[in-house]
């Protein structure tokens, strides 16, 4: 488990968004696929950006009605255009859709509706006195400029933008995209500037305060419109890049772990194949290690679900301490220790003593019982922790144990009693041995 530090460090990043909702029966692979279908912009058969088409697919209605709705909403002070723009920015394009072109009639209809929508918006704006003819013209110019830039930022240029995301802002705006992109961006920017400039000049001569305000507003809109798609995409690309990096790192970590553990052990087993006891010992040790790595309390498989709880210092839990003790005995005495732990508690001094005593009892069983399996059962109750160490081996008569044998007396009973615990022994020749250890715990220690 030499990899724990890296795992712990990376834990917050690797926690998937569904972390809180995971329940018992959900198979890990299926979790990601569920949920309502996502809203995507259409890639093909679109008039502007595929927003209406995607919305139609999502809602299950005809695309024509969606377009009509947008166009009519355009009359309400430009709400339709605004909504369309927002959806354009925030709804990702469908990456997997197959190509299918809309009919010519469809396209014609769509362009008609676009004209209608824009017309209604401008007319609505003019009628409601939101802006006069003088402002409308430069504002329109600015908006068209922004639309050109925006068009450039669309996902049809995805790859370019992605390289852009890696090379920084300058690379995105000029390089990588080639001359046509640069020219279009410059033209768009120039148009926005022109629109803004005209408004500014006009307001200067008229000396009217609302024109100055409008100019500021126009500038802000221009800047926002120019940069928002860029930021949205930059964030998205960075997220994607990070995910890919995490996946790669994770794979490397798994490979490293398998190399350090499984492959090494298999190689050893090949060399030792004449000695079944040694092979069993190696296999058991390896199984335990891999198991705790995959399924253990701070294990690999748990990490993605447990999130930040994985940050708790390892070795501080009773179950882990017992598992470690059992593992050590398994390895040094080539026996199998079956351990079951119910409940969990933080280790403190008495509990550490309990684990040591239990370890000593397991060692005793391994040494003297003459069996190859020992059962260990630990249970955390509200007031005490009990551990049972049991074998089905020879057993002995406690009264005949020679005085010079201190294992049970000192290491187990003494240790328990010094920490306020109790130790009971059940054994008889031929009946196996069971050591019962009980350690009271302070209220509030039970976790």
């Amino acid at each position: 488990m030499g990899h724990v530090p890296e795992q712990v460090q990376r834990t917050p990043e690797t926690a998937p968004p569904e972390a809180e909702t995971v329940v018992i029966p959900a198979p890990r692979s299926a979790v990601e696929e569920t949920g309502p279908p996502k809203l995507h912009r259409r890639r093909s058969g679109r008039a502007v950006a595929g927003v209406a088409g995607g919305l139609a697919d999502h809602l299950g209605v005809r695309v024509l009605w969606v377009r009509v709705t947008f166009a009519l909403l355009g009359g309400l002070g430009g709400v339709g255009l605004f909504a369309y723009g927002l959806l354009w920015v925030f709804v990702p394009q469908n990456a997997k859709e197959e190509k299918k072109e809309g009919t010519a009639k469809d396209r014609q209809q769509a362009f008609g509706l676009i004209a209608l929508g824009v017309g209604l918006s401008v007319a609505g704006g003019a009628l409601s006195g939101l802006f006069s003819g003088w402002v409308a013209a430069p504002l329109t110019v600015a908006l068209i400029g922004a639309a050109v830039v925006w068009r450039e930022a669309d996902e049809s240029q995805r790859r370019r933008w992605r390289t852009g995301a890696k090379t920084g802002v300058v690379g995105t705006l000029s390089g990588a995209g080639g001359w046509s992109a640069a020219i279009r961006i410059l033209a768009g920017a120039a148009l926005v500037m022109t629109g803004v400039g005209v408004v500014l000049l006009r307001s200067g001569s008229m000396e009217q305060i609302q024109f100055a305000l409008l100019a500021v507003l126009a500038t802000l809109i221009g800047v926002a419109v120019l940069t928002v798609p860029f930021w949205v995409r930059l964030v998205r690309d960075l997220g994607e890049e990070r995910r890919a990096r995490i996946r790669t790192e994770e794979r490397a970590e798994i490979a490293a772990h398998l190399h350090d553990s499984v492959l090494q052990t298999l190689a050893l087993i090949q060399k030792q194949s004449g000695d079944p006891r040694e092979v069993a010992r190696l296999a058991r040790g390896q199984e335990r290690q891999l198991r705790s790595w995959l399924y253990g309390p701070s294990g690999y498989g748990d990490k993605e679900k447990s999130g930040s709880e994985g940050l708790a210092p390892s070795g501080g839990r009773l179950s882990e301490a017992i598992a470690t003790a059992c593992g050590e005995v398994e390895d040094s005495f080539a026996i199998s220790v079956q351990q079951v732990v119910v409940g969990e508690a933080e280790l403190d001094e008495p509990l550490t003593a309990l684990v040591h005593a239990a370890r000593e009892a397991i060692v005793n069983a391994a040494k003297h019982a003459g069996v190859d399996e020992v059962s260990v059962y630990a249970e955390v109750e509200p007031t005490a922790v009990t551990v049972f160490v049991r074998d089905r081996g020879k057993g002995f008569d406690p009264d005949t144990v020679p005085d010079d044998r201190h294992g049970l007396a000192d290491s187990i009973r003494g240790r328990m009693e010094r920490n306020g615990g109790k130790c009971r022994l059940r054994t008889a020749p031929g009946e196996g041995t069971e050591v019962q250890l009980e350690m009271p715990i302070k209220v509030g220690k039970v976790a």
Binding site: V23, V340, E344, E379
Partner: protein, 222 residues
């Protein structure tokens, strides 16, 4: 019983590792006449079709599989073939995986390191209608039914609590005691032990206890 004993128990193997299936099959067939492997499957769909075709008495079911695992096989097969008995056989130490198959209707759970002789015994026992609790499963179930401070209100006390006797039986199971040893330890008959174990299994499967579904996350919060 004598007639029954002569007819081997038909077993169907479900595991996504062909090598493991081959190993289990070879071992089962070489050591005993008591069980007969009638088919095997490596995926959920294959298992559902194969079980419907071969109508085995017992299905040895892997807990961890792609497309939904053992619990999914249970969900698909059980409504149509309620007589088929499932025994979970897993390498998984993740309690939630195991509890999920038990909840879905498996009659027992054993680990893959079990010896072939014990496996045969477990198969015969579930075929006879008994529940098979490995010590580890007993631990998982005890954990799932634990009364922790702050646990959810109990909706059906009848189902959502283990009686003290059931708890004692489970504890002894978790300590690795055999039914006979549990019986003599608690001064009850083996039959009574079986009754307690079956009732614990039924509670695990029927319990509405909020704990059982929320359990995985609860456990991580401790």
């Amino acid at each position: 019983m004598t007639d029954e004993a002569k007819r081997p128990v038909s077993v169907f193997l479900v595991d996504d590792h062909a090598l493991f299936r081959a190993g289990v099959r070879a071992e089962l067939e070489s050591i005993t006449e008591e069980v007969r492997v009638v088919g095997e499957a490596g995926s959920v769909a294959e298992a559902a079709a194969g079980i419907a075709r071969t109508r085995p008495q017992v299905v040895l079911l892997d807990v961890h599989m792609p497309d939904g695992g053992g619990a999914e096989v249970l969900r698909r097969v059980r409504p149509e073939l309620p007589d088929v008995v499932f025994l979970a056989l897993s390498v998984s130490d993740a309690a939630e995986d195991v509890i999920a198959v038990i909840r879905a209707g498996a009659r027992g759970y054993v680990t893959k390191t079990i010896s072939s002789k014990e496996l045969v015994r477990a198969v015969v026992r579930v075929a006879d209608g008994d529940a098979v609790f490995s010590p580890r499963l007993a631990g998982f179930v005890l954990d799932a039914f634990a009364d922790r401070p702050g646990s959810a209100p109990i909706s059906d006390p009848e189902l959502d609590l283990l009686t003290p006797r059931e708890r004692d039986v489970l504890r002894l199971l978790a300590r690795g005691y055999a039914y006979k040893e549990i019986a003599s330890e608690l001064f009850i008959s083996v039959k009574t032990v079986e009754t307690h174990v079956s009732s614990v299994l039924r509670k695990t499967q029927l319990s509405n206890r909020y704990e059982l579904s929320r359990w995985a996350s609860d456990r991580r919060l401790v």
